[in-house]
Symmetry: D3
């Protein structure tokens, strides 16, 4: 039925193909009918918003690179004024995207979007204070880093954490869709996938980063360090009586202060990694670990030798 046979003489039957793809039974489930005449959130504009915020948060590193302490406030003020407007609009589009037809009190939605954007902006000083500790963490945590500035300018960790810390505050304020798009941008660029719902304390560092996954209900304390390929995931997904996943319940690890987790380790479920613990590379862990513990892959995992054997 899907196939419309063609041969050398038959040109594309554009009419038939279009009709097939525009039949309601074909597009059901993959078509987004815009609500309240509002277009989709724009990935381009969200990207612009994040880049403008990066310029505000790290003056001189991003945006206008010759900013001085004297001219800084003009640049910061101008960026923030633009962000306030753009973000209000995107927050609203995020609400409309998930809006059910019946609820149409758009006037409220408009003013709520603006209020949330303003509240978010008022948290920028705090976001920056946290990021400044992350920069220190990257510098002291990586022997290859020569200056803290280098980590701001080109380390995936700082890039991903900036997006995450922005997205987390938006998520915390109840903004929908937008936070996820913002962390997904960083995921695409860095390979670091942090859900905006996760809670992450100050002085956090992820070295290399590719393949790191930090789930929605994860809680991470202060001064934690992760390496590439670490998963902080869910172990199982409880379903309700009707067989549907129960969404939103705590299901990811709690990682306490001063923990280090080496590359490829996987920690699943609502377990607690106690303060100062060290989790070795490639470890698979589904239970809690006391403070100060050192968990390594079993000796056997360290490889068995066979000389001269082909694979």
């Amino acid at each position: 039925m899907d196939k419309m046979p063609l041969n050398d003489e038959t040109p594309l039957d554009l009419e038939a193909l279009t009709r097939a793809l525009c039949a309601a039974e074909s597009y059901a489930g993959v078509y987004h009918r815009p609500m309240h005449n509002q277009p989709m959130p724009s990935v381009e504009i969200l990207s612009e918003i994040v880049e403008r915020l990066r310029a505000v948060l790290f003056p001189g590193y991003f945006g206008h690179s010759e900013v001085t302490p004297e001219s800084m406030r003009f640049h910061a003020g101008a960026e923030l004024d633009v962000v306030a407007r753009l973000l209000t609009q995107q927050v609203k589009r995020g609400f409309c995207f998930l809006c059910s037809r019946e609820a149409e009190n758009c006037q409220d939605c408009e003013s709520r979007s603006r209020e949330l954007a303003m509240l978010f902006l008022s948290r920028l000083p705090r976001i920056r204070r946290l990021l400044a500790t992350d920069v220190q963490a990257a510098f002291v945590g990586d022997p290859a880093a020569k200056t803290p500035g280098e980590t701001i300018f080109c380390y995936p960790s700082i890039h991903a954490l900036t997006n995450y810390r922005i997205a987390h505050e938006l998520n915390d304020l109840g903004v929908t869709m937008i936070p996820r798009i913002i962390t997904e941008m960083a995921h695409s660029k860095t390979g670091i996938d942090i859900h905006p719902g996760a809670t992450i304390g100050e002085h956090f560092f992820i070295d290399h980063g590719t393949g790191v996954v930090i789930g929605e209900t994860t809680v991470i304390g202060r001064n934690v360090r992760l390496y590439q390929g670490v998963t902080l995931g869910a172990k199982s997904f409880p379903k309700d009586d009707s067989g549907k996943l129960i969404k939103g319940i705590p299901r990811h690890p709690i990682v306490e202060d001063d923990v280090v987790i080496y590359s490829g380790a996987t920690i699943l479920g609502r377990v607690t990694i106690g303060r100062g613990a060290t989790i070795g590379g490639n470890v698979w862990l589904t239970r809690s670990v006391p403070a100060g513990a050192r968990v390594m892959q079993s000796k056997a995992g360290n490889g068995s030798f066979e000389h001269g054997a082909g694979i």
Copy 2:
């Protein structure tokens, strides 16, 4: 020999350097001599083709975001008409790229390219039907997803599968080069590397996705779920008598319906993972597994404790 010593007084000897780089013995092996006056396939145009197809497959989510059921067919028809032309040209370039000098029946190649592009387009309704099941799989498989639409708009799984399902049909029709470029685009963006030759059934979901590798001859059934870092790879590469790799023989796993494979698991070789089996995280597997089996990393792998030890 490669070094042309310079000192403070010596400016770049552009002449000598250029001569060195344009010597036949230098560029042999890294120079592409265009066949039949045909330029290389264009990554930019292939990207445009895929984005136009995304707009057709998921109306309202991509492309013109305010499309209505009434205006949909105009937009779909216009996109498809453009894609038909662009794709014909790229398919032909893909053939020319691999063409040996002698075979120059270009007239046939032109018409064959067009026919293949048309045949591909006729399969779009089927591609969409499969993707619609993938969207459902993403929604029911991720407790963090609030709506199916969210997974269409910003989940790496749907992005990568759209590219894969497009590329797979092109590959199935005998198109060369182009399918690989299309899946590689998704690999770069999502970290999910699916070979266009792989066969994947409906209702497929890859959570997070970074680091997933699905090899050329893999066969995946219906309702399978993978997590980040899963490899479905080849175990060994048989060589022919002259010591060259034999290309194209089945060498990747068969994964039956309803299987779940957790993060970091590696399954190599033409083994079969039986229906409904569960493969735990970080597992290394090179033999078949019966239906319903549950394979976990060894207990030792779950970590040994040592209190208070430094690393």
Copy 3:
């Protein structure tokens, strides 16, 4: 203090927010004060430089795709002339970025930057010769590759190695910042993170690549092959008396000729993987391995079976 409460009636207090973000105590640690009036290195221009070099190194594949042996030298010469100028400027910016205020002999810095750019260019024939062996390695190492050209045009391995081999020569010449930005570009695109300080011999191949990490002091011989997710990392970070990390000491593995390391394997510390050894997938290794050895994950790691159990 960070929070400036807002309610429905309060518009954004742009003045107060800007003042908060432009207070010296807020921006300390995250502000880059440009040295010697020199802007930051430009990621855009470095990207342009690398693309122009790619066009020179692989004529016909990148840049002007219809280049002939006759016209090649015009295109190569023009690209190199532009690169010489752009690179000189970026090298200088890299120095200025790390420059301490006192040392201001900028005149020297200018001429040194130009000299380094020229020296780098004189090494291009060697870089190409190495890359030509990498292309062969990719072709013979991947059964899915139909021609060597295909690996040049769309394999992440060749993309990442081109950036790395460029960055490595720059790093070797003492250029700062710029090499790291160049390898980070490839990391973002391919998921392959190679530090420019690493030493890598000819005929090197990384299949799939996502999640591969190769540390700063790694030494890799000839004809080595890695798979996705392999880490060649440091095991520990010695600190000096004042508790600071000692930077620059050898701390990553030595991998001798003809070694193969399968996906997800992690090798940490200044250990030696002897010539011709094979390291299996997901193996965690922190000690040396003799030539010809074959190291596999322990059998237990190959998974224990339980039938019919839910997860």
Copy 4:
């Protein structure tokens, strides 16, 4: 007062300069305070609208150049759907631009904007019919034109008339600001300045065009031809009792059918150029001319000779 003296030691006093420029008495008269939170009309989007309309009006010449009679309706429909939305928004912005603070019934304004955009679109067939006659006029009127198609693709006359005929219909419907911006775009590109209020009959041609001015209340019949530098202007501007210009009264010429006006001629005031009249180049005319008349510059104007004189 405007000057802030600087000397070698004084850097820019950004603070003082900004304060001077942001003082209300400085920006009064040159600042646009947005009404109803609505941004300015966008020259970029209006340009996009006009280009999309050009693609619809002249299929194959502009927009998708390989349109066929079979695929035409998809492209036309898609363009029109996008134009409907974009134009509605711009029409509304045009109203807001001129809106006085008190009148704020924005809901009406929104629906009126949409209605006007729809009414405009319904006139496109007529606009095209007129333009088709203009194309014929250009072809028969210029011995240098080899085909009518050439005049569509690259003659300033058709470019300017397309913008004018679009703008005129919008103006006729009561749309503000937008029509003027659309004709001004064509003025900038072609040097032909036609006020959207002018009335122009079918089969109209302006050769070369630079410097042509056609005023707001001009009325031009059928089959009229103008050359470059022709002005159809106002002679005087009556003022009301308070000394203000009275706006909108008929003050430009009426040019009847079949008139030809040669380059540089200036016709001012509400005079009538009778049917079939010919007005010579550089003529200055402020009174009516009967049908069939031939008006030339005085003989003396044809130049007096002096041999050998220097200038």
Copy 5:
């Protein structure tokens, strides 16, 4: 019939409007059916061609601005190689645009296009030699010019003459459509409209330029200077027996060496302006003028005085 009445309740009837615009009787005369599957000439690519030629003709002023005598030939060679290919394609599209359906010997057309592009390129040294004299003419002719280089970089005269001299050679070789598009680009930018068919000798200067028109069969000698608003046009357009314009016959002025024509002068018909003659501003001239003559507007034209009169 064209009007589809709408009221407040009626949304756009996209279906009906599209049907109306896609009816054959509506699009007849304004639709371009592509011949031989060839798209329209591309204004963007022609613009790129001209800019690349400008870089070759005026090294250091346009294109790569830091070209040295040593690196010049690499840049020139690379530009010319690209232009050869782009121009061949556009020349062919120009032929196809005017092609009648029957004549379809496309193979010939392809090789003829390439030959013409090559012949054109071989004339570049001559084109540059002429332009070098035009630069001198601009410098000595304008008291405001401080250096010849300034006239190359920002005088409309040199810009327009570069386009014209390129277009003229193409026209001379029998290329269709393309030359006209190239001069029209300069017309749009400078207000100077020179038909590519015109013949213009060396050392030519047009000051200011806006409104200048030089017709298809005009012949201009050496060392001629024009001011803005000068028309060298046709006086009448002979028609054949069937009433159609006879195209291509000489109908524009011959302007001999050393003539100066001041602003606004209009010279029409196949008249000859003798060597060294001076034509005053705003003069209207339709007969020949002997060598050395000085033609001025009649004294009366110099204005009559009336004191104190209002307009």
Copy 6:
């Protein structure tokens, strides 16, 4: 000699053509050798500078369109800070362009460029005050203008005068090249060619504008109005003993307050148009005119009638 004959079998001799074009005798006179390693002034950056200044001068009309009195100073300050840096660089490039090899005190040139850029910026309040009067002049002078804002947003007069008033101040400060490029940008867009050296008083209006030329030493008083095609030019160009044009002497008209000059009028030489005079359209004038005079084209110029005559 220029021609390199080609026939069907001869491909482009890229080598020979390049050699011909890179021979010193070919490029002499059309090659710019960069002085002091400084690239050419950049038309793109000068355009950016002017657009940023337009945003500062007319807040809300250009640049960020939703600026409020509260946020204005942030936007203005940020724009000015960027302009200060960009302009300094361009001013310096303008000096280098004209620099003779010997004079190489570049350090001075750098600081002088910065000082001039700062001095220019300090004059912005005055520039705006003048432009505010020009806006009023446009509004009261054109019956078609409905609001002053409309003239700011889309009248060629205001566009050209903004560029002129910026360029004039730069010219007045002794900046070279840059002012001319800035007025030429407006000339290209509007057809209005004002030399930056001209002196123009407040409340100036040019209606329509195409073809207007205002020469280098013109002096225009307050409240003057011009129409399209008006030339205020030089009558003759005195040469020195060696036959070279003497540059810079007063040679253009003085136009006193309250003068109106209608379309196409040409006034040449250092004549004075007395206060309140009116100059009619197409008038050619080379002598002074007393205050209050009204100069019209001679009656004969108003056209002679001949009934029924063909042209």
